[in-house]
Structures are given as structure tokens and as C-alpha cells.
């Protein structure tokens, strides 16, 4: 029982421990999908809302002095004797932003949550890079935000993997401040996937508000360990002094049926409340158990949720 929840899974040290070839081959067929269309800096395989020069008509606007006369719609002029300019969609690339919670609480559970998010981030990043999307990764805790900015192209996969392998969870989360920094420093828009357990004592609302206002297509992938989901099933019992591995806060409990029941209710309520918060703000919330198979997560769960196609 002393090992309850303590991660026994060794941290991956090689990229192939984060993603193997089989998964890679499956992910080659997958792309990140956005519910919104964002302007990227480079022309990518993405429809952008930004109106630019392309063959796809988007809209009209009144002619103003100085506009290019090549885009005047002469048919409308002939009918209405007024000048209107055609607007065309411009194809832009997608930014994929992966935000990893690198606080101490993520280094817990069997399978460990942090290893899970490392693997998930690796897979999502691989999808993004493979599809010529710009991939940016952030890792946050109370010590700040560690970025890995603007990776593009498959060849940057190794670099992304090395960066992920070098991450070491620790400290408190510092979620609001981290999200504020990310939101402020983020130029442009994109799909943001936040990989965390979202168990923030300071709350998640403030941090997510920072991000929601930024126009990101945000996905909150709440990652929980099996021990967190069903502690009794995994042998939590007795008179315990629960110690928070982040802030060393303690809670003295006597595990009882009533307490376990209450915990589950609170967990469901917490996750439900998070989901409701996300939905109201156009954020997609998915709860993932670290015991799930990564292939299932990517090709089933996330595909159904609309993050991947």
C-alpha cells in the first residue's frame, strides 16, 4: 500500500519509447483538425479565414480608392453601376500548440501521468509536423513556462522528442500565470491542446479564461491515473495521512466506504464542472485514463472529439 500511486514506470529515455514506428505509421494518415480556421504564417494545407489572393471567392466589399482594379466585379458594376471588390480565401498553415503540465502531480500514478502526456504530446506533435503544421510545445509549472517554439516538418520530430525527454516534472503547477504567459506570448492562432490533470488548487478558471479569449481552438485533455479514478480498487485503505506531492499539504483521512464514495462524487463533480466551464467557452474537454492504449486514445477518442481526422 505504501506504493499506492507512486509511479513505478521508468521515465522514457529514448524517442522510440515515446512513439514507436507502428504508431507512427498509423499517425501518418491522421491530421489535426480544427473546428475553426486560423491564419497561419505560412501557406499550409489549411483553409484560412484570412481573405487573400486565391481562387476561392469568399466575399464582396465596396471599392475604395487605391484598391486593385483587377478584383472589381464588373458584372455587379454593370448591373448596379457600383464598384465592388471580390474577396478570396487565402490558404494558410495550422499552428498546433501543445501545453504540457510539468508539475509534480503529473509524476504520479501507474501508468504515470507525465509519461502518458509525453507520449501523447509526442504523437500529436508528430501528426502536426507530418502535416506541415507549425508545432509549438510548452511545458509549465510554477517555475515558469518552457517553450519549444515553431517546429515544422517531419525532420523536426527528433528535436521535439528530445525536448520532451528532457522534461522533468516538479514543483507546483502555476497554471494561471503559465496560461497568461502563453496567451500573451502567443502570436497568431491555432489549436491548443492542454495536457494536464487540471487538479489545480488555485483553480483552472483563470488560466483557461486567458486562453479562451485568445481565440484558440482549445482542447483540454484531462489526464488522470487509475489510482485517482478509483482509489479503492487499487488498494487505498486504512488510516492515512495523504500528502500532496506538490505542496506537501496533508489530509488525514480514515478510508471508509463513505469517504470513497464522497471522493468519487467530488471527482465526477470536479470533472463535470471543468467540462461545463470548457463547453461554455468553446473549449473541448476530454478525460483520459492513463491506462488507456495510446492508439485508442488518438485514433478513437480524439478522432471522435474532433481533434484529429
Amino acid at each position: 500500500m505504501a506504493d499506492f500511486g507512486v509511479t513505478t514506470q521508468p521515465r522514457p529515455t529514448r524517442i522510440d519509447e515515446l512513439i514507436d514506428g507502428t504508431l507512427m505509421s498509423k499517425l501518418d494518415q491522421v491530421d489535426v483538425l480544427s473546428r475553426k480556421i486560423f491564419a497561419g504564417k505560412l501557406q499550409g494545407e489549411r483553409r484560412s479565414k484570412k481573405r487573400g489572393v486565391s481562387v476561392e471567392f469568399a466575399d464582396y466589399r465596396h471599392y475604395v480608392h487605391g484598391d486593385d482594379l483587377r478584383f472589381v466585379d464588373w458584372n455587379i458594376y454593370a448591373r448596379l453601376d457600383r464598384l465592388f471588390l471580390k474577396l478570396f480565401l487565402e490558404e494558410e498553415d495550422l499552428s498546433l500548440i501543445l501545453v504540457l503540465d510539468a508539475s509534480a502531480s503529473m509524476d504520479w500514478g501507474n501508468p504515470g501521468k507525465f509519461v502518458f502526456v509525453q507520449q501523447l504530446a509526442m504523437a500529436l506533435g508528430y501528426i502536426g509536423l507530418t502535416n506541415q503544421n507549425r508545432v509549438t510545445l510548452y511545458a509549465f509549472n510554477d517555475q515558469g513556462v518552457v517553450p519549444l517554439p515553431s517546429l515544422r516538418g517531419r525532420r523536426r520530430t527528433r528535436e521535439m522528442g528530445s525536448w520532451l525527454l528532457d522534461l522533468a516534472p516538479g514543483g507546483a503547477s502555476g497554471f494561471p500565470e503559465a496560461m497568461r504567459q502563453i496567451a500573451l506570448g502567443r502570436q497568431g492562432k491555432g489549436v491548443m491542446v492542454i495536457l494536464s490533470d487540471f487538479m489545480f488548487k488555485e483553480g483552472y478558471e483563470k488560466g483557461l479564461r486567458y486562453l479562451a479569449g485568445g481565440g484558440f481552438d482549445i482542447y483540454c485533455l484531462q489526464t488522470l491515473s487509475p489510482e485517482e479514478v478509483d482509489p479503492a480498487r487499487h488498494g487505498l485503505a486504512g488510516d492515512l495521512k495523504l500528502t500532496d506531492i506538490e505542496d506537501q499539504d496533508t489530509a488525514e483521512v480514515t478510508i471508509s466506504a463513505a469517504l470513497l464514495k464522497r471522493y468519487k462524487e467530488n471527482l465526477n463533480a470536479y470533472c463535470g464542472k471543468l467540462r461545463d466551464f470548457c463547453i461554455r467557452r468553446g473549449i473541448m474537454h476530454v478525460t483520459l485514463d492513463t491506462s488507456l492504449d495510446m492508439t485508442t486514445v488518438l485514433l478513437d477518442y480524439l478522432r471522435k472529439r474532433g481533434l484529429l481526422k
Binding site: 500511486g5 490533470d197 495523504l242 500528502t243 489530509a251 467530488n266
Partner: protein, 662 residues
């Protein structure tokens, strides 16, 4: 319920319960468990605390169980006991006193003491065989009722219905209380003297006595290991005035008159006025109001000394036979001794045969007796012939005056013999003596009523060696002088000397003796001057030899019962249970009508007259106190407490290991 050792239990409770509570509420040592986030756990604990009343209760269930365990242990140490079915196991003998005093009506709802005793004995059976939770095996029980004699109403059994039915069958008697027979019966049934038996040798029973304690012979009894439990029955304020004696006489000079004497005893400490009525054949004849002083209690012994009063009724004419009853009209608690009866036979005159020498002496005395109808003088030879033809029976008394018939002619009859020793076994003459005085005589014998032998000098007499069954009535310096012999129909009074060889004829006692002897022999077997029957004895009567189809009518019954009799001259029936007038009747060959004779039975007993129940009774053997009432047996409860304690401990273990500290 009582507690054997309360202090010990309280000490244990005080020593262990507070520390347990203290320990329980001390901070528990908790194992440190790293957790990803305590956020939800803290919330959950706070939520549970928000439902404080129930939570506290659930959390303390184990404490409660542990306290219950300790409480049960403390209870067991206190050794509680519960009165559970009183005595249990082994053999029990229910002894119910059904003597005369138990017919006293001084209970609730006008019930007699015997009814009360039966009710309480039945309740006892219910307790013994109640099959309650705390009732142990009741063992076997026997029911014995006793008065003069003991009777087993059911031998040892564990059948409750059988025991209750046996108790119900017990009927009252007017006999005295004597427990010796009952104890002997109980011991005979319970004491095992067979060494091969699987029962312990001499295993005693528990005797449970339901009585008012007025038992004549209890103080003479020795308990042999039995436990005697006494349940006193009766009210301490019992009221009784009893007849203690009755007698009657027909004066010599007026044989057709009857004079009745009665004696009363007041067992109340207060004086009483009693109306005493004389009835003849059920018709009131006279009534006397008497005042009887109150009884006194001996300050030294505490024994009640009743106050006595004699009542003498004026002589009245009664030429015929009659049943005389003297009754105390004052109602009291014991009705059995409120009336006494006498059967007065008709003044039958006797036929006397005078055999032997023509002695004027005896003849003169006989001729002077008004109760003799005829005197027949005969020689010895004539007597022998009479005896040979069976004619002796026609004479009530045969006086042999210095004549001894041969053995073959010494036929059954009633003989007054002077001088010559009769040829009867047991009367062994071994010579002649000279000169003796009377040393002793049984002056209470009817023969010596108003007879004084102190001045009697005998010059010549037969020396006699009597057998054991010969009653010596007068003893002289050289041996028996006057003896009596009763062997079935043979009644003999033998005077070992010729009166003329003494100075007796010159004394008034000589005439009186002859009259007494003739009266005594002539009416032998008949109730004459006193009621000779009391409950517990056997009725006896001398019926004619030819009597047949003998029947007996009991008091209060309408139909007589047939009594098989082999020798009517020795009619006997018993034991008598109730007082009253019994009627024996018979048929005579050649006669159409049945002949009848009343027989009176009186419950005259001072010990039964004192009906105050004894709160304590004592047997012999160092004045062993037989406890009054109770017999409480206590069922120890500590095994139950320990058993419950173990059960609670197992429950607590289950609760603890159900992964729930509730």
C-alpha cells in the same frame, strides 16, 4: 437478579473503559501516503464532516462495540444471578400435608389450606417444568400426600401433566400430621443403595413441603442429607375452638339414661363464647353456652397452651341406641373438630353362664347386676356339653369359677376365670404360691375403674408364666395376678386366685371388678362409652358370625360400598380418612331386612386443633433449621455474558475487517 461481586466488576470497568475511550479518541497513527493532489480528498473529508451527527455515530460504532465488550466482561465479573425456575435438576419430592388442620378455611377466596397447598405445588411444578430460557433440566418429581399415613400419588416422573393430575387428586383427611412415613417413602424412592447402579450412592432428593407446619413428629426426624424446603400455608390469625374429648355413660342405676361429657380447647388468645349443642340422632336435645378463656403462650418456650373447658350435659333418657353428636355452633376456621359423635348402643342386657362350684360369692354379685338379663348356672360337665354343641356363643360372658375345662372344650368366647388356670397356650402355670400383695395394676384399664387393689392380700394363688401376648393387668409380688388374653374371638380375663383365698370379697372393689369385667367382656368389640375411632385408624366391629354382604356407608355418601369380609366377627376397614358417622350393614340368613350399626369417627387431636401455621419448622439433629419458603435457586448469568462478549468481539472483528471503520 442479584450480584455476587459488584465491586470487582466496577473496578474492572473503571480500570479499562476510560483508557479505551481515551485511546480511541487520541490521534491515530496514520501512515503517510503521497498523493497527486489532496484537493478532492480534503473536500471529501469536509463533506463527511458536514454531516456531523451521523458521521460521528458511524465512526464510533467500533468504539461502542468495544465498550459493549468491556461492559459484558465487567458484567460477567459481577457474577449476576437470576432467579430462574428456582431449583432445577435431580429428584424432587413434593410433600403435601392433607391432615385435618389443612382443611381450615383461612385462605383467599374461602379456599382451604389444602387447596392453597395444591395450588402452590402446581405452580412449583410449572416452575420446574416451565421450559424457560433460563430453566435447567427439572429432573424427576414425585408427589406424596401425608396425614397419619403417607400415600404416593405419583412416583418419580418428569411428566408435567401427570404431576399436575396427581396433585389435583389429593383429597383432604381429618387425620393428624405425621411425616415419618412420608420421609421413609421419599428415601425409599430416592436413596440409591445399589453400588452397581450408575447413580451416586445415597443420592438425596430435595423435599419440598407444603404444610401449615403442625406436624407431630417432625422434631423427631433426622434429615439424612436431604434438603427440606418448607412452604408455610395458612393465615397466622387462624381461629379455632376444638373438641378434645367426648364420652358418655349409662349410670348403673339408670341404664336407660345417658350422660354425655365433652371437652373443648380454645386455641385463640382471646376468650370466646361457644354454644355447644347436643343432638341425638340429629335432633337437638340440649344446648349449653360456655365461655372459654383465651389461650396463653408460654414465655419460655413460645408454645401455645390452649384454654380448656369441660361441658357436662344433663343426663337424658335414651333407652334405645342412638348417635349422639356434640357440636360447637361457633363458626371458626377449622370445621373438622367442631363436632364429635358417639354411637350409643342400646342398653343390651347380658346373658351370663356361671360354671363351676356353686360359689355364692360370684353368683350374688352377678345377680345384683342390673345389666345382666339372665344367669345360667351350670356344672363343668354341662359346660363341656354346651361347648361341644356350640352353645357357648349364646352367652355373652362365661364365668368359670374354679373350673378349667379341657382344651377341646375351651371354645372361643368371652371368659371371666377365677382360680383354675384355663388350658390356653401362653398361660403357663408352674405351681402355687402363698401370700402376696398387689404391687402394680393398670388402673386405667376398664376392669379397674373404681377398683383399688392396694389392700388386696392373696393367701393362695397360681404361679403363672404368661406369654408375650398375654396382658398382665395386675402384678403381685410373686408374679402376675390378673391377666387378659385376646386371641381373635377368644377374650379371657383370668384371675389367678380364688377370691375366697383372699380378702378381696371384703372390699368394695371386688364387686366393682366383677361388674367391670362382665361389662367389659360382654360388650367387647362395641363402642360403649367413648368413640374409639380416629382418622388414620381402621374401623373395626364384631358382627354376627353369620353376617354376609357387608357394606359400609361413608359419611356424606349416598351409596354404601361393599366390603369383602372373611370373618364377620372381625370386621375391619380403613384407613379412616374423614370423621363422621359410618354405617356398617349386613344381611343375616333368613332375614329380609339388613341389619346396621353406626360407627363414629372423631377428629380429636390437640396438635391439629392448633392451626396457627408455623413460619419455621425444625427437624432434629442439632436443631437444623429448615428454611421457610424459598428454595430459590439462582441461575448464574456470567456464562451468558461471556458468550455475548465473544459474539460482540466477532462482530467487531467483522466490522473492522470489512475495510470499514464506521
Amino acid at each position: 437478579m442479584n450480584w455476587i461481586s459488584i465491586p470487582a466488576g466496577l473496578i474492572v470497568a473503571a480500570a479499562v473503559i476510560p483508557p479505551l475511550v481515551l485511546l480511541y479518541f487520541l490521534k491515530l497513527r496514520r501512515r503517510t501516503q503521497p498523493i497527486a493532489c489532496t484537493l478532492l480528498w480534503q473536500r471529501s473529508v469536509e463533506d463527511l464532516r458536514a454531516n456531523a451527527p451521523f458521521q460521528r455515530l458511524r465512526r464510533s460504532l467500533l468504539l461502542l462495540l468495544q465498550l459493549l465488550v468491556l461492559a459484558l466482561l465487567a458484567l460477567a465479573i459481577m457474577q449476576p444471578q437470576i432467579q430462574a425456575g428456582r431449583r432445577a435438576g435431580g429428584k424432587t419430592v413434593i410433600l403435601i400435608d392433607n391432615s385435618a388442620s389443612m382443611t381450615a378455611i383461612d385462605g383467599m377466596d374461602q379456599q382451604s389450606r389444602l387447596d392453597e397447598a395444591k395450588r402452590r405445588a402446581a405452580n412449583r411444578i410449572e416452575e420446574l417444568y416451565g421450559r424457560g430460557l433460563f430453566t435447567q433440566e427439572a429432573g424427576e418429581t414425585m408427589v406424596v400426600a401425608f396425614s397419619d399415613r403417607a400415600e404416593v400419588y405419583t412416583p418419580f416422573t418428569d411428566s408435567k401433566p401427570q404431576l399436575l393430575a396427581a396433585i389435583e387428586r389429593i383429597r383432604p383427611t381429618h387425620g393428624r400430621s405425621r411425616i415419618a412415613d412420608a420421609l421413609a417413602l421419599a428415601r425409599a424412592f430416592t436413596t440409591n443403595v445399589d453400588p452397581d447402579s450408575d447413580r451416586p450412592l445415597g443420592e438425596p432428593a430435595t423435599l419440598e413441603l407444603f404444610s401449615d407446619g403442625r406436624i407431630d413428629d417432625l422434631a423427631d426426624q433426622v434429615l439424612r442429607g436431604e434438603t427440606l424446603l418448607y412452604y408455610p400455608i395458612g393465615s397466622p390469625t387462624a381461629d379455632n375452638v376444638a373438641f378434645t374429648a367426648i364420652s358418655m355413660e349409662r349410670p348403673y342405676d339408670r341404664p336407660t339414661s345417658v350422660e354425655v361429657f365433652a371437652a373443648l380447647a380454645n386455641f385463640n388468645t382471646e376468650p370466646v363464647i361457644a354454644a355447644v349443642q347436643l343432638s341425638v340422632n340429629g335432633v337437638a336435645n340440649a344446648i349449653e353456652e360456655v365461655v372459654i378463656e383465651g389461650a396463653e403462650i408460654d414465655p419460655a418456650t413460645g408454645v401455645l397452651i390452649p384454654a380448656r373447658r369441660n361441658v357436662i350435659f344433663t343426663p337424658f333418657e335414651q333407652p334405645l341406641g342412638a348417635v349422639i353428636e356434640v357440636a360447637n355452633l361457633r363458626a371458626d376456621d377449622l370445621a373438622a373438630d367442631n363436632a364429635v359423635r358417639l354411637v350409643v348402643p342400646p342398653p343390651r342386657r347380658l346373658a351370663v353362664a356361671l360354671v363351676g362350684s356353686d360359689s355364692f360369692l360370684i353368683r350374688t354379685v352377678l345377680e345384683g347386676m342390673g345389666s345382666i338379663e339372665r344367669i345360667v348356672k351350670m356344672t363343668g360337665t354341662q359346660f363341656d356339653e354346651l361347648a361341644q354343641t356350640g352353645g357357648v356363643d349364646q352367652y355373652d360372658v362365661v364365668v368359670l369359677d374354679n373350673y378349667a375345662p379341657s382344651a377341646e372344650f375351651m371354645v372361643p368366647g368371652r371368659y371371666l376365670i377365677f382360680g383354675a388356670t384355663p388350658p390356653l397356650e401362653g398361660l403357663n402355670e408352674f405351681g402355687r404360691g402363698k401370700g402376696q400383695l398387689i404391687l402394680d395394676h393398670k388402673d386405667e384399664h376398664p376392669l379397674f375403674r373404681f377398683v383399688n387393689l392396694d389392700q388386696l392380700f392373696i393367701s393362695r394363688y397360681n404361679l403363672l408364666q404368661p406369654a408375650d401376648d398375654v396382658q398382665v393387668l395386675a402384678e403381685g409380688s410373686d408374679g402376675p395376678v390378673i391377666v387378659a388374653l385376646v386371641r381373635g374371638p377368644m377374650h379371657v380375663v383370668y384371675v389367678t386366685f380364688d377370691p375366697l383365698d383372699s380378702n378381696w370379697p371384703f372390699q368394695r372393689g371386688f364387686v366393682t371388678f366383677i361388674v367391670n369385667a362382665v361389662e367389659y367382656l360382654g360388650h367387647a368389640g362395641e363402642a360403649i362409652s367413648e368413640s374409639s375411632f380416629v382418622p388414620g385408624e381402621a374401623l373395626s366391629a364384631r358382627l354376627p358370625a353369620a353376617a354376609e354382604k357387608v357394606e359400609l356407608l361413608l359419611p356424606g355418601r349416598e351409596s354404601p360400598v361393599s366390603v369383602p369380609v372373611t370373618d364377620p366377627t372381625q370386621f375391619s376397614w380403613g384407613p379412616i380418612k374423614l370423621s363422621g358417622v359410618y354405617g356398617v350393614s349386613w344381611e343375616m340368613p333368613g332375614e329380609d331386612d339388613r341389619s346396621a350399626r353406626p360407627l363414629a369417627v372423631n377428629a380429636i387431636s390437640e396438635s391439629e386443633g392448633d392451626i396457627r401455621p408455623a413460619q419455621e419448622i425444625f427437624a432434629r439433629e442439632d436443631n437444623v433449621h429448615v428454611a421457610a419458603g424459598g428454595g430459590n435457586q439462582y441461575m448464574p448469568l456470567w456464562p451468558w455474558a461471556v458468550g455475548l462478549c465473544l459474539a460482540v468481539m466477532m462482530l467487531e472483528w467483522w466490522v473492522y475487517h470489512r475495510k470499514s471503520y464506521i
